[in-house]
Structures are given as structure tokens and as C-alpha cells.
């Protein structure tokens, strides 16, 4: 007996909310990427919890894929950030306003 499923849900929701907050408020591309990682982690927790709840292994499989996607996303994202920083000297998303 661990905890009610609802508690897992609320934990994941809070974590997700923190990720959103990090993504939309911290004025740095790196922090935005980290916020995305936090959100992905929240999703992973939720999926593992629901695997246990429904006694179905599919959730864990999806978590596996989420990890893979996260690794790919982070490698490309960081490369982009480095590239953009080399060209412009800034990681502040507010400075990227050429199209305005």
C-alpha cells in the first residue's frame, strides 16, 4: 500500500507547473530548456504512477521513449543555443526580436 493515485497526480501536476513557470518566466534560453526537462520529468512520474494504477506496462514503455526524445531534444536544443549565442552574444529570448 503506497498512496492514493490522486497524490501522484497532484505531485506530477505541481512539478509540471514549476516547469511551465520556469519556461515562461526565466529570461534565459538555457532555463527555458531546463523547464522543458522538468515538465518531461513530471510526465514521466505520472506515467509510471499510472502504470502501477492500471497494472499495464505501456506507461513505462512510453517513459522510455520520453527519455530518448528528451535526450535528442536537449542535444539539438543546446547546440542551437550555442550557435545562436555565438552569432548574437545573448541568450535572452527578449533580444531575439529581429522580426518585430
Amino acid at each position: 500500500m503506497i498512496v492514493p493515485f490522486g497524490h501522484v497526480l497532484i505531485l506530477a501536476g505541481l512539478l509540471f507547473l514549476m516547469g511551465v513557470f520556469c519556461t515562461v518566466t526565466r529570461r534565459s534560453l538555457i532555463m527555458m530548456l531546463l523547464g522543458i526537462e522538468i515538465m518531461l520529468n513530471a510526465a514521466a512520474i505520472l506515467l509510471v504512477g499510472s502504470t502501477l494504477h492500471w497494472q499495464n506496462l505501456e506507461g513505462q514503455v512510453i517513459v522510455l521513449f520520453v527519455f530518448a526524445v528528451a535526450a535528442a531534444e536537449v542535444s539539438v536544443g543546446l547546440a542551437l543555443i550555442v550557435w545562436a549565442y555565438r552569432r548574437t552574444g545573448s541568450v535572452d529570448p527578449g533580444d531575439y526580436n529581429l522580426l518585430k
Binding site: 492514493p4 493515485f5 526565466r26 504512477g49 513505462q60 527519455f67 535526450a71 543546446l78 535572452d92
Partner: protein, 176 residues
């Protein structure tokens, strides 16, 4: 209150606290360190919820690879921080309002659902069992994901190569 539930609450608090610390730090290195702790907590939670293989992956990929990658970038690039206020009011107030609404609605939903009150029983998916399941039913997806990782690798290499073509402007203002 069993020992498992106690562990769960402790881990949950730990994860939330370290994440909150990470989100609010100004120093990037600190952020990454706090997040590593948060992911360790998540790994233990996975273990508790019956996914030992995923717990190992969480430590290896998230805390090990991804966060270290961040750490390298942060240290190598020497991004200067502290130019801005940490949270601009124009951004955090709407975000907080949205977050509160989201939280209230989420809590309401969770408490309204009878299924969420069912207590989770301990169970375990051993790595062998998990691996057999994955490669029996999802082998095609695994191949596709490996291809995705390869593409990401190539893309990262392509973006990271040094080019002599452009004179690198010092700031974005030079583009105007």
C-alpha cells in the same frame, strides 16, 4: 500510513523543494546541481512505484547525461546572468495567475474522480520482463527512436561546427 507512503511523501517533498530551488536560482551552475538532486529523487520515486529499470535510466540519462551536458555548456559558455531581475513582473504575474487556476482546476478534477482515491499497490516490473515486453511489442518504435537519436546527433554536430563564412557580429543590434 505504511512505510511506503511515508517514503513517497518524503520523496515528493524532496523533489518539489529541489525543483523549486532550481527554478529560483540565479546562478546556472546551482540550477543544474539542484535539478540533478531533483532527478535523483525522481529516480527513487520510480523505484518505489515499481520501475527499477526506468529508475536506472533516469539516473543515467537525466542526471548523468543531460544535466552534465547542461553543466558543460553553462561552464564553457560563461553566460553572464544578473542583467535582469530574476522574474519580470510582466511575466510572472500572468504565469502565477494561470498556475493558480490550473492548480485549482487540477485539484478539483483529481478529488472529483473516484479512481484517484484507489490506493496503489506495490508491484514490480523487473528489467528482464520490461525488456522482453518492449522488444516483443514495440521493437519498431525502438528502431525509430534510435534513428531519431542519430538524427539529433548529426544535427548537433552540424550546428556545432565552426564556420568561417560569417563574420560573427558582436550583438544582435548589428543585424539591424
Amino acid at each position: 500510513m505504511t512505510i511506503y507512503s511515508l517514503i513517497f511523501y518524503v520523496l515528493a517533498l524532496f523533489i518539489l523543494a529541489t525543483t523549486a530551488m532550481a527554478v529560483t536560482r540565479r546562478n546556472m551552475v546551482h540550477v543544474v546541481i539542484y535539478l540533478i538532486f531533483s532527478f535523483f529523487g525522481s529516480a527513487m520515486l520510480f523505484y518505489l512505484l515499481g520501475a527499477p529499470f526506468l529508475a536506472a535510466l533516469e539516473v543515467i540519462i537525466y542526471a548523468g547525461a543531460i544535466m552534465v551536458l547542461f553543466l558543460f555548456i553553462v561552464i564553457m559558455m560563461k553566460f553572464e546572468g544578473g542583467r535582469h531581475r530574476l522574474f519580470a513582473p510582466g511575466q510572472w504575474i500572468p504565469a502565477a495567475v494561470f498556475g493558480l487556476v490550473y492548480l485549482a482546476a487540477g485539484t478539483l478534477l483529481v478529488s472529483a474522480q473516484p479512481g484517484s482515491r484507489t490506493v496503489l499497490k506495490t508491484a514490480r516490473a523487473t528489467p528482464a520482463m520490461f525488456g522482453r515486453y518492449v522488444f516483443q511489442t514495440h521493437w519498431l518504435s525502438i528502431e525509430i527512436v534510435s534513428l531519431l537519436l542519430l538524427v539529433a546527433l548529426v544535427g548537433a554536430l552540424f550546428l556545432g561546427r565552426r564556420t568561417k563564412k560569417y563574420a560573427t557580429p558582436k550583438s544582435i543590434e548589428d543585424h539591424r
